[in-house]
C-alpha cells in the first residue's frame, strides 16, 4: 500500500529491524521489522501472546533483543536499561498510572528531575512549564497545582502522558490507555494524542478496541505469533479486516464430540447488575455446559465473575442454582450455593505463595476437612493433596513444597485443584490459563471439561479468544457492561472479536449469524 501521510515528516523515529527474542523454547519474536515515524500514531494490535508486549519491553529497555537492531532517531538503543531507553527518548504510559497521589501534578511530572534554582525547586518556572504542557495537551492549566489523588483515573493517565512529554520523549508508547476510560474521557485522550502527533512525536498506540483505531491512528501493524503480518494505513482497513488479520487462518474448534447439553439450567442469572460495572445480565448455563463470557479489558466481565462469587455483590437481579434462589453477598454464600471460582490474578487472589501445596489446596475446605468441627485433619489434607499431585500432574517434589517455588502453570493447577475438591455445581473460571505454559494449558482445559462432563456448569471468563472458542459451547460477548452478542459452537474468532471490539454492523440479538464485515 502506498504511504498516505505525505504531509508528515517521514523521518523514522523508531526503527526495529529483524528483532528476535526467545524465552526458553518459545520464540516470542521472529524477525520483527517495525517503524514509527515522527508525527504518526501507529496502532499495534494482536491477540494475547502475539508478541506485542515483548516488543514493547524491548523498545522500553526492559528486555534485550536476542538478535536484530533497535534504533531511536538514528542512534542504536543499547537495551536492557529502562533508564537508557528513557534518556534516548522512549516513554511508556501503562494502563495503571504510576503516580504519587500526595504530590501535585506538576511535582509528579518533574519528580526526580526537578527544575532547580539552588537546591530549591524553581516552582515558578516549573509551574509555567507544566501549565504550557497541560494546555498543549488540552487540559486545564490550573490542575498543575492539584494533588494527583484528587484527579479521576482518566486524568491521571493524561498526567503520565504530560510527564512523557515534559522529558522531551520522541516516541510515546500508550499501552491500552482506553481500556478503563469512559467515552468522554477517551475523547479527551484522543485530543491529547492528536496534539502530540501535531508536535512531531511518534506514538505507538496499543489497543484491543479496534473500533477506535480509525479515529486515532494513521497506520496499523498487526502481529500474530511473534511476527508482523501487516502494516497498513488505517483507513484502508475495516474492523473486520483487522480482526481477520489478527486471528489468521481460522481454527474451527474441534470439540464436535461434545454432546449438546440439555436439561434445566444449573446456573440461572436474571437481570443481574452492579452499578458502574454491568447491567441487566441474563444468563443460563445447563448441566455439562461450558459457557464463555468474552469481552475486552474493561468490558465488565471480571466484575460479573466477582458478583457471581459474592466478592463484589450485585445490586440488582437474581441468581438461581439448580432452581434454588441464592443470596451471594460473600464468597462463603457462593461456596454454600455450590459455586466455586478460579480468580484471574493468581498472585494476588489465588496463591498463598510461601505456604505448601497442601495448605493451598485445603484452604477453601477447612471445615470440610475438620473433625469435630475444629480439629484440622492433616492426614486427610495430605492425602487429598497427594491425590491431586498425581491426578492433575502437578510437577512438585511433594505436597509440602511451597507453591511460590512452582512454575506459573503448576501454581495455577494448584489453585484449580482447590476448586475441584468438592466438585462444585458451578465453576467460574477467570483467565484460567494466563501466564501458563502450553502443557499446563491443555491439562487445565482437560480438567475443566472433565468437571463439565460430570454435570457441572462451567462459566469461562477469558480474554484469550482461541481458548474461549475451544472450550465453550456458547460464547456470550460483553461490551461496556452489557451482553451484545451470542455465538454457538463454530463461531469464527474474527466475528467474535469484531463483536467485542465494537463492530455494530449487525443486529446485536442475532445468534451465531455469520456477520459480514461492516463498513466503518
Amino acid at each position: 500500500m502506498a504511504e498516505t501521510i505525505t504531509e508528515q515528516d517521514h523521518r523514522a523515529l523508531l526503527r526495529l529491524h529483524d528483532v528476535q527474542k526467545r524465552y526458553g523454547g518459545v520464540r516470542a519474536l521472529r524477525g520483527v521489522d517495525f517503524e514509527v515515524h515522527a508525527g504518526e500514531v501507529h496502532a499495534l494490535v494482536g491477540e494475547n501472546g502475539a508478541g506485542k508486549s515483548t516488543l514493547i519491553k524491548i523498545v522500553s529497555g526492559a528486555e534485550v533483543a536476542d538478535e536484530g537492531s533497535v534504533e531511536v532517531d538514528g542512534a542504536p538503543l543499547g537495551g536492557g536499561s529502562t533508564q537508557a531507553a528513557m534518556e534516548a527518548g522512549i516513554a511508556t504510559v501503562y494502563q495503571e498510572p504510576h503516580l504519587f497521589g500526595e504530590l501535585t501534578v506538576a511535582e509528579n511530572v518533574f519528580l526526580g528531575r526537578e527544575l532547580l534554582a539552588g537546591g530549591r525547586v524553581d516552582w515558578a518556572t516549573q509551574r509555567g512549564r507544566v501549565g504550557e504542557l497541560l494546555e498543549q495537551i488540552g487540559l486545564d492549566r490550573a490542575i498543575g497545582d492539584v494533588r494527583v489523588a484528587d484527579l479521576p483515573v482518566a486524568e491521571q493517565q493524561l498526567v503520565s502522558i504530560a510527564k512523557a512529554f515534559a522529558h522531551s520523549a520522541k516516541v510515546l508508547i500508550l499501552d491500552e490507555p482506553s481500556a478503563i476510560l469512559t467515552d468522554r474521557e477517551i475523547e479527551v485522550l484522543f485530543g491529547v494524542v492528536r496534539s502530540l502527533r501535531a508536535a512531531g512525536m511518534g506514538i505507538i498506540y496499543i489497543s484491543h478496541r479496534l473500533d477506535e483505531l480509525a479515529q486515532i491512528s494513521d497506520r496499523v501493524t498487526v502481529m500474530r505469533d511473534g511476527e508482523v503480518v501487516a502494516t497498513r494505513p488505517t483507513r484502508s482497513l475495516s474492523v473486520r479486516q483487522v480482526a481477520e488479520l489478527m486471528v489468521g487462518h481460522e481454527l474451527r474448534a474441534d470439540t464436535a464430540d461434545r454432546v449438546v447439553p440439555t436439561g434445566d439450567p444449573v446456573l440461572d442469572v436474571a437481570g443481574l447488575g452492579r452499578s458502574g460495572a454491568f447491567e441487566a445480565l441474563d444468563l443460563q448455563v445447563r448441566p455439562a455446559e461450558v459457557v464463555a463470557l468474552y469481552g475486552l479489558v474493561g468490558s465488565g466481565t471480571d466484575a460479573i465473575a466477582r458478583a457471581l462469587y459474592g466478592i463484589e455483590p450485585a445490586d440488582s437481579g437474581a441468581v438461581r442454582v439448580d432452581g434454588r434462589a441464592v443470596r451471594l453477598h460473600t464468597a462463603r454464600d457462593a461456596a454454600a450455593a455450590g459455586i466455586a471460582m478460579l480468580p484471574g490474578n493468581r498472585k494476588q487472589q489465588g496463591v498463598f505463595a510461601d505456604k505448601s501445596i497442601a495448605f493451598n489446596i485445603s484452604s477453601a475446605h477447612l471445615r470440610y476437612l475438620a473433625k469435630f468441627g475444629f480439629w484440622f485433619d492433616r492426614a486427610r489434607e495430605r492425602s487429598l493433596a497427594q491425590g491431586f499431585l498425581t491426578r492433575i500432574a502437578i510437577k512438585a517434589p511433594g505436597p509440602d513444597t511451597a507453591v511460590g517455588a512452582l512454575s506459573g502453570g503448576n501454581q495455577q493447577k494448584v489453585v484449580l485443584a482447590r476448586q475441584l475438591v468438592r466438585a462444585p455445581r458451578v465453576l467460574v473460571l477467570e483467565e484460567p490459563t494466563q501466564g501458563v505454559d502450553v502443557g499446563a494449558k491443555e491439562e487445565i482445559h482437560r480438567l475443566v471439561l472433565e468437571l463439565a462432563d460430570g454435570g457441572s456448569a462451567v462459566l469461562v471468563i477469558s480474554t484469550d479468544l482461541p481458548e474461549v472458542l475451544q472450550l465453550a459451547d456458547r460464547v456470550l460477548v460483553v461490551r461496556r457492561g452489557a451482553m451484545v452478542r451470542e455465538f454457538g459452537r463454530g463461531a469464527s474468532q474474527a466475528e467474535v472479536l469484531a463483536a467485542a471490539a465494537g463492530d455494530n454492523g449487525d443486529d446485536p440479538t442475532s445468534v451465531a449469524a455469520d456477520a459480514e464485515g461492516a463498513p466503518t
Binding site: 524465552y23 518459545v26 516470542a28 494475547n48 501472546g49 508478541g51 506485542k52 508486549s53 515483548t54 519491553k57 528486555e63 511473534g226 462469587y309 466478592i311 460473600t330 464468597a331 462463603r332 457462593a334 461456596a335 471460582m341 480468580p343 494476588q348 487472589q349 489465588g350 496463591v351 498463598f352 505463595a353 510461601d354 505456604k355 495448605f359 485445603s362 484452604s363 477453601a364 477447612l366 471445615r367 476437612l369 475438620a370 468441627g373 475444629f374 480439629w375 484440622f376 492433616r378 517434589p397 511451597a402 511460590g404 517455588a405 512452582l406 512454575s407 506459573g408 482447590r418 494466563q434 501466564g435 501458563v436 505454559d437
Partner: protein
C-alpha cells in the same frame, strides 16, 4: 501474552549434595527453632563455663535456671499474644497488651479485694475483661480498618489511663490478693529442679492450647491464610475480618491471663503493672520477632516463640550473675536489642540466600 515468568525462587532447587556444614547453616537460617536451640545451648554452656571459672556472683545451676522461669511466664504469654496478632497480617501488632495487663489486673483487684467476689468467678471475669479489651482493638483494626499500630497505641493510652484512675493510682493488696502469691510458689517434682507452680498451671497449658489452635485447628489455618494473603483468603471463602478480629481477642485473653499472673507474683494489683518502664509490649514483640514471627504476617510458630522466650530468660538470668549491681540488667537491654536486630538481619540474609524466611 508471552510468558516471561521469572525462574522459580532460588530456594526451590532441592539442595542436593550439600555438606554437613552447609546443611546446618541452611537449617539454622531457615528453621528458626533450630537456630534458637543452638543459641540456647551456647548460652547455657557459656554461663556454666563462666560459673566454673568463678566469674559469676552465684552458681548458674539447674536450680537457678528453674527459678528464673518465673520471669519468663508473663513475657512468653504476651509474646504468644503478639504471635497471634502479627500473624494476622496487614501490619498487625498490639501495643496495648501491657495496658490490658494493668487494667484487667486492677479490675481483678477490685473484684477480689474491694467487692469481695469469690476467687473463681473473679479469675474468669479478669480473663474476660482482657478479651473484651482485645475485642475493642480487633473491632478497630479488623472492622474499622484502623492501622494496628495506631489503634493499639490509642487503646494503650486509654487502658493504662483507666487502670491508673480505677483505684486513684493506688495498688490493691488486701489479704485475699496477697494469698494469691502462693500460686507462684515453687513446686518440687521428681527429676526436676524446683519450678514455679504457674509454669505448669498457666504457661504450659496456654502454650499447648495456642499451639493446638494455631497448628491443629481450622481457625489456625484460616489465620495463617489471612495473614499470608488476605485477598486470596477471601477468594478461598475464609471470613477474613472475623478471623483477624479474633486474633486481637485472643491477644486480649492472654493479656488477661498475664494480669492474673502479675497480680499473683507481686501479691498486689498494681495500676502500672504492665506499662512501667518500657512496658510489657515492647519486650513481648521483641521475643515474638526473635522467635521467627515475620512482621509482614502469615509466618510464625508457638514453638519458636516459646524457645525465644526461654533463651531471653536464661540469657538475662545469666547476665544478672555476670555483673555486679544493676550492670546485669543493663546488659540485658543490650542483649535484647542486639539479638533482635541481628535476628532480623538474619531474616534478610535467609531471604536473599534461600528465598524464604527463617
Amino acid at each position: 501474552m508471552t510468558d516471561t515468568r521469572v525462574p522459580s525462587a532460588p530456594g526451590a532447587a532441592p539442595p542436593g549434595g550439600e555438606s554437613l556444614a552447609q546443611r546446618v547453616l541452611r537449617l539454622a537460617l531457615t528453621e528458626r527453632v533450630v537456630l534458637l536451640a543452638v543459641l540456647l545451648v551456647v548460652v547455657v554452656v557459656w554461663f556454666r563455663v563462666l560459673g566454673d571459672g568463678g566469674y559469676l556472683v552465684a552458681p548458674y545451676d539447674v536450680r537457678y535456671l528453674g527459678n528464673a522461669l518465673e520471669s519468663m511466664v508473663p513475657f512468653a504469654l504476651l509474646a504468644i499474644a503478639e504471635l497471634f496478632v502479627i500473624v494476622s497480617g496487614r501490619g498487625g501488632i498490639d501495643l496495648s497488651v501491657g495496658a490490658i495487663v494493668s487494667l484487667a489486673g486492677m479490675v481483678f483487684g477490685l473484684m477480689v479485694g474491694e467487692w469481695g467476689w469469690p476467687l473463681l468467678p473473679s479469675i474468669v471475669a479478669c480473663v474476660a475483661v482482657g478479651g473484651l479489651l482485645g475485642a475493642v482493638n480487633g473491632a478497630l483494626v479488623a472492622y474499622l480498618r484502623f492501622p494496628a499500630l495506631i489503634a493499639t497505641l490509642a487503646t494503650y493510652y486509654a487502658y493504662s489511663s483507666l487502670a491508673l484512675v480505677s483505684n486513684a493510682n493506688a495498688p490493691i493488696s488486701t489479704p485475699p490478693i496477697v494469698a494469691l502469691h502462693s500460686l507462684t510458689r515453687n513446686v518440687h517434682l521428681p527429676l526436676l529442679p524446683p519450678v514455679p507452680l504457674h509454669v505448669f498451671t498457666i504457661l504450659v497449658p496456654c502454650a499447648v492450647l495456642a499451639w493446638v489452635v494455631l497448628s491443629r485447628s481450622t481457625y489456625g489455618r484460616s489465620l495463617y491464610a489471612v495473614g499470608t494473603n488476605d485477598i486470596a483468603a477471601g477468594y478461598a471463602t475464609q471470613p477474613v475480618t472475623r478471623t483477624r478480629f479474633t486474633a486481637y481477642v485472643v491477644s486480649g485473653l492472654l493479656s488477661g491471663v498475664v494480669a492474673l499472673v502479675t497480680v499473683a507474683q507481686f501479691a498486689s494489683a498494681r495500676p502500672d503493672a504492665g506499662v512501667v518502664g518500657n512496658g510489657m509490649a515492647l519486650p513481648a514483640i521483641t521475643i515474638a520477632v526473635l522467635g521467627g514471627v515475620a512482621i509482614q504476617g502469615g509466618i510464625g510458630r508457638v514453638g519458636g516463640v516459646v524457645v525465644a522466650a526461654l533463651l531471653v530468660t536464661w540469657l538475662n538470668a545469666g547476665m544478672l550473675l555476670a555483673f555486679e549491681g544493676s550492670e546485669g540488667s543493663q546488659y540485658q537491654l543490650l542483649a535484647l536489642g542486639l539479638v533482635l536486630v541481628l535476628s532480623a538481619l538474619l531474616n534478610t540474609l535467609a531471604l536473599r540466600r534461600y528465598g524464604r524466611l527463617a
